[in-house]
Subunit: 246 residues, 2 copies
Amino acid sequence: MNQRQFVAGGKSGDGGGRPGKNGDGPKRHEAIYQSISDAIIEHRLKPGARLREDALAEVFGVSRTGIRKILQRLALEQLVTLTPRRGASVTRPTADEAKDVFDARLMVECGLMPEIARRITADDLAALRDMARRERQALKAGEQSTAIRLSADFHTRLASISGNATLADFVERLCSRSSLILAVYGNAGHLGCESHDHDDLIGYLEAGNGERAEAFMGRHLKAIEASLSIHVEEDEAPDLFEIFSG
Amino acid sequence: MNQRQFVAGGKSGDGGGRPGKNGDGPKRHEAIYQSISDAIIEHRLKPGARLREDALAEVFGVSRTGIRKILQRLALEQLVTLTPRRGASVTRPTADEAKDVFDARLMVECGLMPEIARRITADDLAALRDMARRERQALKAGEQSTAIRLSADFHTRLASISGNATLADFVERLCSRSSLILAVYGNAGHLGCESHDHDDLIGYLEAGNGERAEAFMGRHLKAIEASLSIHVEEDEAPDLFEIFSG
DNA sequence: GGGGCACAAAGCGTATACAATGATCGGCAT
DNA sequence: ATGCCGATCATTGTATACGCTTTGTGCCCC
């Protein structure tokens, strides 16, 4: 809450093609970060895709230095994997990581529900309803990318209502990683959250029924996890011994 | 001082006085990161302390580039605060952040207890007991810095037993931030965890009693939080409007 | 005498250059 | 012909150089 966005006024003048020397830095980097992050979350960049530094630098019109910074941030959020001399690539979550992420979501998102039910306002409800509606629209229109992102946004926004910035941030990261997990282990056509689930959840929250919301969220997350086809394919380190020793 | 970088390459066409270009990079950066992180956690760098890039670069014998990377990583873990044109400083947690961190710990560390009790092994118990013993020793010897770090290590190690790397990592971060919070709001002489608390907890875990361990951890964390003197001093962004407009 | 403005110094943000490393491909020996 | 070895290439990692913003101080004007 103390993000102190320093809008260093003055002449920002994001002058088009010319790479601004300085001054518009943070805003521009944040935008680039969002672009890449969104592309990953929306599955436009698929797990395993390589992210070459100079290619990204050229695309966004900044130097490799800035790209490196962004890549490292994404690596800390585990959206990209940084292999020491090989560069960056979109993280391909393992089955274990997938389980960890969903266990964590189960614990945190459910645990947050009572507090959320206590603190939710009419504005929050309206915003959530709008997001759920747009998600349904996107799903109906076949825009899976948008739907995935909106679903993650819904859960993230929900967590932020709790007032606990630390936990909300954690949930945001978990949702991002969940998108990645869906990309690897999800089945086409049965995408993540059922659309009416979010609406039902909103209903419980509007009624102030934190306990039912908590239980529902638990079922909701378990349903998502169950819909995944987590075949433990050891592509990371194939057990050659086990495979060929027989 | 360690300005001795063994450069493996035989050919060094340019000036020989240049420090080691490359080769020991990742290891060295990790070590520097640990140094700074430990110094912050052990309160040898106090909240608010400024961390100038070139000073650190000179101290550790690397260039500013590497220091910047480390500083950004620390900033993402919220151990240091990066103000856009003003550089880095050790984060001074606000009262709100402190509450968020302890609420998060309450939820996650308690929630993890049953699983930990289920999975804990004899080796884990021995390691934990050793850590608790060393913590007691340090506390008795008056080495607060060491005691603080060991206490954080204890909680972190405990969380890692759960097998959930994601949540363990989260707990590790929360513990680091807690050290910072203790530095700001803690009372001298009544430092963080009571030493026998950890031993009691080990007892419950050894007995496989996850529920009692969970309850005890809850009391433990609440006791720590209660021992803080959180006077809401808005030094971060004093609401001058609110103060002087009346 | 006090306050505002200008100049200078310091420090951060970005870009570019250079070096090292891992991968790939061609040549050579067996 | 095939397998191994060396050279070249592509790509990252690090350092340095330069510009911009901020801040502190001194001078001038009121």
